[in-house]
Subunit: 362 residues, 2 copies
């Protein structure tokens, strides 16, 4: 785990924007397909962006991979979750056995799932588990920083390395995933810090806590923000002070994917906190990010409102793991197929330009 | 085409609600899967309803079929569309050649597409085309009724028969589709009539017409409603007066699917007008309908607001053909797989009840 501040600086400096020229060419093709202009909405937008990402008019997202990072959170000692931390390793075992939601949905869309222990509190083993524990869970953010900057860098480095290996193994599109009991609390703290929003607006019910417990959780987030205020000088120090090991790893994964011009599908509330951290480090990463869904967790809507980003799905999902990312990958693939497989006006013998900006075939 | 009023009466009388008992059992299983209660949102709701529809805890939607009905509209003579009626048969040929949006998206989700000429204005032939023309396009609804009640019944009967054949051939879930230049105009008229909404609120830009042309289109819809007011006595007579042949066929398809306890995924704005007609005939059909998406066409949002129904996707689609239905089928299948393939707490060694109503894995 020798990922350093200098490594991060170089990584951030080597992220380049998507190719606008090829996107203009993609738009031209989209406009010549046998449909009214723009009639396939976001499918067209996503296909065009995939062209800009892969610098190709025939992008491929056939090889899909979801990277699910697991980590624990010291702040669970404050009673912020209805679920005990023991569930984190139990769910890791469930991922490895193929029985979790992300396994089912990944299989449905033809994606591989890789599971990484970047910070589970207890030792975890299991066939296929990627062992990259930086720390046995974060410290309690109500009492001090979640981790040191070196630990945050190490967790970032895990994300970078796992993403690099996935891409080396052929992944053409990556999905983020996470498991960590308590991780809506650090995520809410990060949203509050980066978006300048009061804790009460970005803190939700997580595992289904009561009104009373929610009031308490908001207080915990406020206290965490207050005690760590002086530590939050820049995105990295804020991530270290308030974040989580899996959140840092996802942040690193997003940065590396962007550097290598590989699309990343961001899962839900927690993954968005990681993506927000990456955006704060270098906004160009957004060129490579697709936001899979609007989570049921309070605060996610504000994230989209504040950033102007648009989620792909609105299904009331709030499971995490990478479940939303899996479903959204399938829609991005549908968009790419529209671009590459649909007939143009010329090919189909429909007079070009006859079908204009239309609606429902008429 | 000997479908009669009596056939319709019997069909409507034999539609039964979904099985609530099996849905309660499905809910019990969903609540025991390794995730917080309800954390997979609409996926869970859709899976549960599929159980009620098929009266099975292991419903199957593996065999998917989209039925795309084509018809023309006399009202295009009023200049309501930016696209000439010649495009209807050209697009039918495109469907048969596999080059249209619906072909690409159906293939993506593993669905078959069947194309039916129920009312194209000119003769159309092509390999695979189902020939069931009731009338060579409707009459101009600004001048009088679109068709006679007997013609509407015949078109309904086509939908019934095509759905029946699809189900006999093994279809486990059906998607509606349509092609008909001008068909947002009769659809707007039906929404206005059935939902008691002013024409201006449900009439949109269709093929991308200008502000001026939209004002004219609204006037056309108002005139059509006025001249046909006395004819709109019940759902069938309203459908005959204001509707379209493909709209009537989709209405029949939905009724037959409901009678046979087969799920129907309703495509966009025009298909929703057909579904609304079916609902007016017998609201129990709603038990079998899934609404694939919120169309970009104005008026669709009001349909959902007025009926309280919830669309699955919000991708800004406005192509029709069955494109939205194809994508939504894939999400229904994902929900079914969650129900049938995910591990329960017991199976996974996660203590039952530990994970409660949660958010993003924490």
């Amino acid at each position: 785990m020798s990922f350093t501040k200098e490594n991060l600086r170089v990584l951030l400096a080597t992220i380049e924007p998507v190719d606008q020229k090829i996107m203009a060419q993609a738009q031209h093709r989209l406009d010549n397909l046998t449909k009214p202009l723009g009639a396939l909405g976001m499918l067209e937008d996503m296909a065009k962006r995939m062209c800009g990402i892969q610098v190709s008019l025939t992008p491929s997202v056939a090889r899909k991979m979801i990277l699910t990072f697991a980590g624990d959170h010291g702040v669970v000692a404050e009673g912020v979750s209805a679920v005990p931390a023991e569930v984190t390793p139990q769910m890791v075992a469930n991922f490895l056995a193929g029985g979790a939601g992300v396994n089912v949905l990944a299989k449905h869309v033809g994606a591989e799932v890789r599971v990484i222990d970047v910070g589970v509190a207890v030792p975890v083993v299991g066939e296929g588990l990627i062992l990259a524990k930086v720390k046995a869970g974060t410290d309690n953010i109500r009492k001090g920083p979640a981790m040191s900057e070196d630990e945050a860098l190490a967790a970032l480095g895990v994300g970078v390395e796992v993403a690099r290996n996935a891409i080396n193994d052929g992944a053409e599109i990556l999905g983020t995933g996470e498991m960590g009991i308590g991780n809506t609390t650090p995520s809410a703290a990060l949203f509050s810090a980066f978006l300048n929003l009061p804790a009460a607006q970005v803190t939700g019910r997580g595992t289904g806590i009561s009104d009373e417990a929610l009031t308490h959780k908001i207080q915990v987030v406020e206290d965490a923000l207050a005690i760590n205020a002086a530590r939050c000088r820049d995105p990295l120090s804020t991530l270290a002070a308030l974040g989580g090991l899996e959140i840092a790893a996802i942040c690193g994964m997003i940065l590396e994917a962007a550097r290598q011009r590989v699309a990343v599908v961001v899962d839900g509330f927690i993954s968005s906190a990681a993506a927000l951290t990456a955006m704060e480090m270098n906004p160009t990463v957004l060129d490579y990010c697709f936001f899979s869904h609007m989570s049921g967790e309070q605060g996610h809507r504000l994230f989209f409102e504040k950033t102007g980003l648009k989620p792909i799905l609105h299904l009331g999902l709030r499971l995490g793991e990478g479940t939303g990312a899996a479903l959204a990958m399938n829609l991005i693939e549908a968009g790419v197929k529209i671009l590459t497989q649909m007939a143009t006006f010329g090919e189909a013998g429909v007079s070009p330009g006859e079908i204009l900006d239309g609606s429902d075939g008429a």
